[in-house]
């Protein structure tokens, strides 16, 4: 699978992005069948190869080339080829522009100003290829007084307003560990890329799309923003409470840190729920009869429910309640999910068989987007650093062996990170849990 044999679309994408947002956009286009060329350099490989948070390397082994084993790298760059190219050198820049001539889309998520600094802003790309489409998955857009400000997912959750409505009501506690902002922006950007391609097909014109991740995320709490527009009210956090439904919360179950969520949405559901709890007295209680009453007394109802849920196993309780059509969900752990019969039946997991020594079989997460006729599937495992230099520079750009060797000598291309990057790779990894209960 090292060559792009199964490439199905006549579409070439250059992926300049680092970390996740831009990478996600390019990956989805690769999943569709486009030829995606991820551009890194030996001086600045994608941090996901090296400093993967939590130092997660495949099978918890560093292997001979740890920079090709970072687990986030293996997941985020499926269906991509990889070349190295030092864009900060003039020669590197010239080679890049030759590639732009032969490509359809460029994806980047640099800080605003970096493309200019590298001498490859949109107008320069356009000179090389008037039909090029540039996707800038930026933090703040490319205009305005804060355009050069940087962010990551955590920061965006703060500055977009999302964090101000996601928390307990009585303390500032929540850590938004999930990284929704990156994959959200990347997914939206991939949709915009397809829309821009459609426009190009009709008009012959390329375009430059600049997404502001911060504003996109604010848009995802747009309905709460409307509360301010309408009532000059600043919405605050509501923990697990719902504006209309009650009970609606997360309840403790048997076992340490074990929880179930339950949402009761109608009087009928309340009655059924009381039957399941074997508490017909509650079903008959006048102050709990309608939604408004339950909302008013939700604290005391929550305590009653918690006393009941504590006696039960979260997964058994989910099955029991769902059998009665009550919206209930156990809070699953990663290990639960890896063994989950539903995800297995759905074919969610992407099972990769990688013939490289020391790699073998491993699992990546699926995508959650299922196209019936042209499925998004893994044709190519994530590439080694510079793995496709020969194909891209030799075959695609028609450079001679001598020219390619010249680039290597000048440090413009290569397959091994520079010594200062290698220094950042850990020497040993934290141990494996001997009670490992999930499949690897």
């Amino acid at each position: 699978m090292t060559k792009n044999e199964e490439q199905t679309l006549k579409l070439r994408v250059l992926d300049l992005s680092m970390f996740w947002a831009g990478a996600m956009c390019a990956q989805l286009l690769g999943d569709m069948g486009a030829e995606v060329i991820k551009i890194e350099s030996c001086q600045h490989p994608d941090p996901d190869r090296i400093v993967t948070q939590g130092q997660l390397y495949l099978h918890n082994e560093l292997g001979e080339e740890p920079w090709n084993r970072g687990m986030l790298h293996l997941r985020r760059h499926r269906n991509k080829l990889c070349i190295t190219l030092d864009l900060s050198q003039t020669k590197g820049r010239d080679v890049f522009l030759k590639l732009v001539k032969k490509s359809d889309i460029v994806v980047e998520n640099f800080r605003i100003g970096v493309l200019e600094k590298l001498g490859i802003p949109y107008n320069v790309l356009q000179e090389a290829n008037p039909k090029i489409i540039l996707l800038s998955v930026s933090s703040q857009g490319d205009t305005g007084p804060e355009r050069t400000y940087g962010s990551n997912a955590e920061i965006l959750a703060f500055t977009s307003g999302l964090r101000s409505v996601s928390d307990y009501e009585d303390e500032i506690g929540m850590f938004t560990a999930t990284n929704i902002p990156d994959p959200l922006s990347g997914t939206v950007a991939a949709g915009f890329a397809l829309a821009a391609l459609r426009h190009r097909r009709k008009t012959g014109e390329g375009s430059h799309v600049v997404i502001s991740q911060r504003e996109l995320l604010t848009g995802c709490i747009g309905d709460l923003v409307m509360d301010y527009s309408m009532n000059k009210r600043v919405p605050g956090p509501k923990a697990n409470n719902h504006p209309v439904y009650a009970p609606h919360n997360c309840y403790p179950c048997k076992g340490r840190d074990s929880w179930i969520t339950i949402a009761i949405r109608s009087d009928t559901e309340w009655e059924i729920f009381c039957q399941v709890m074997d508490r017909l007295d509650l079903a008959a209680e006048p102050k709990y009869l309608d939604g408004a009453g339950r909302l008013k007394h939700s604290k005391e109802i929550d305590e009653i429910i918690a006393d009941w849920t504590r006696q039960h196993d979260r997964k058994e309780l989910m099955a029991l309640l769902q059998k009665k059509d009550i919206a209930a969900g156990a809070a699953l752990t990663a290990i639960d999910l890896l063994d989950d019969p539903h995800l297995e039946a759905r074919g969610f997991w992407d099972k990769i068989n990688d013939p490289r020594p020391g790699f073998g079989e491993y699992i990546c997460k699926g995508r959650g987007i299922n196209l019936s006729k042209t499925p998004l599937k893994t044709r190519l495992r994530a590439p080694d650093l510079g793995e496709h230099n020969t194909y891209v520079y030799g075959e695609l750009l028609g450079m001679t062996k001598d020219e390619i060797t010249g680039l290597e000598k000048d440090g413009i291309i290569g397959t091994i990170p520079t010594p200062d990057v290698l220094k950042r790779i850990p020497k040993i990894l934290p141990p494996k849990n001997p009670n490992l209960s999930c499949r690897t």
């Binding site: 850590f175 459609r198 848009g219 697990n240 439904y245 990663a334 042209t374």
Partner: protein
């Protein structure tokens, strides 16, 4: 000229995500026709916020925002004549997006199988909490339930308290983004090959996909990662701020604080040391910054290229100079709800304009679509109205 200016999209939405998906298609110029049940309209009309907290189906902030720029018709697709009209509309559409719930359209024999027979190149996009097959497919869900079952919820909140959900309806917007991409990927194929298909988005899988590292940590080391301690949010004169100094940003942070001597201070020499001595470091940062405003700290740090955020509430967004410079909030007039500020464009596309508009009143475009597009006469309409079909 817009990116999608000759595309017609039908939307059937009860659970936000289909509306969030087609909202982006409107922005790119598509004609989106929202189909609601007669008389009552869709569920989000009854969800707030409302002006003065007085519920009104034409004044729901959620509905007004999600449906900006769409056309709206009412149609009872459970009755034969309504169904016929629906099928005629389907023939004229490129994409249909629905989130009515598991099996709802199939029960009416209006699922992908039936619709693809009348329109083979149709893109049919469905969003459900758990997907269309598998043991949980029929499970009842609200966002709190899907967040739990996707593994997301155990990562949110304080370690010593109950896990909590994300605020608002963000997971539905997130699933809508997947449906947006999936629909356009299928449209790309349909326009090139003349072949339509079904696009199925599972919200559970979307959220699990978005998980950061917990699955990888379980696979590599059998680690069971749960919610961790809150990040270093520090108080200042008017709120909270947060500094996430990456290793290469440490020297810049010391400079921004006006304390370059800290750079090589043994107590804070690397990430490990800074984390061990976090309390001491926080005290130093606080001593320098606690009298400043959150926006001043944000500007100071960002101008020194230190990745920093502040806990912005919705009012802060209205005050943001950046949002003002982008004209992010737009005033839009609505015949019933009046003039209100809405969140607007989050992207620029060179000369191509972002399409804005207001939400439709219930059944506002019945005549335009059913008579104008499909050729029904005024008398037909009268009868349809009497039978409660429109």
């Amino acid at each position: 000229m817009t990116f999608l200016n000759d595309i017609t999209v039908l939307e059937l939405s009860e659970h936000i995500s289909a509306s969030a998906c087609t909202k982006m298609m409107v922005a790119l110029g598509a004609d989106v026709i929202k189909i609601e049940p007669p008389n009552k309209g869709e569920r989000s009309r009854y969800m707030g916020p409302f002006p003065n907290d007085e519920p009104h189906p034409e004044k729901s902030g959620l509905f007004l925002y999600l449906n900006m720029g769409k056309k709206g018709i009412t149609l009872d697709i459970t009755q034969k004549e309504g169904r016929d009209i629906f099928l005629k509309l389907v023939k004229q559409a490129d994409i249909i997006v629905e989130d009515l719930g598991h099996g709802v359209l199939d029960q009416l024999d209006l699922g992908y199988g039936a619709l693809s027979r009348v329109h083979p190149s149709l893109v049919f996009t469905m969003i459900t909490p758990f997907g269309e097959n598998g043991p949980y497919a029929h499970y009842q869900a609200e966002d709190i339930v899907v967040e739990a079952v996707s593994g997301m919820m155990l990562q949110q909140g304080s370690p010593d308290r109950e896990p909590i959900k994300m605020g608002g309806h963000i997971i539905y917007y997130r699933a809508g983004a997947s449906a947006f991409f999936g629909s356009l990927a299928a449209l790309y194929h349909a326009e090139n090959m003349g072949e339509g298909q079904k696009v199925e988005v599972s919200i559970q899988e979307t959220l699990l996909h978005d998980d950061f590292i917990t699955i990888e940590a379980a696979l590599a080391r059998g680690e069971d990662i749960r919610r961790r301690l809150a990040p270093m949010l520090l108080p200042c004169s008017d709120g909270w701020f947060y500094i996430r100094a990456f290793p290469h940003e440490w020297p810049r942070l010391t400079k921004a604080l006006g304390m370059p001597e800290l750079e090589n201070d043994e107590r804070f020499i690397d990430m490990k040391k800074r984390s061990e001595n976090a309390e001491e470091l926080n005290a130093i940062i606080m001593s320098k910054l606690c009298d400043m405003k959150k926006s001043e700290i944000y500007d100071l740090m960002q101008k020194n290229r230190v990745t920093t955020g502040f806990l912005a509430d919705v009012e802060d967004l209205f005050l943001s100079e950046q949002y003002k410079a982008h004209h992010y909030f737009l005033e839009i007039e609505h015949p019933v709800a009046g003039k209100l500020a809405y969140p607007g464009a989050f992207a620029t596309m060179g000369d191509i304009k972002w399409v804005h508009g207001r939400a439709p009143l219930l059944g506002e475009h019945n005549d335009e679509i059913i008579c104008g597009w499909l050729g029904y006469g005024q008398e037909d309409m009268m009868q349809l109205k009497q039978k409660g079909i429109v």
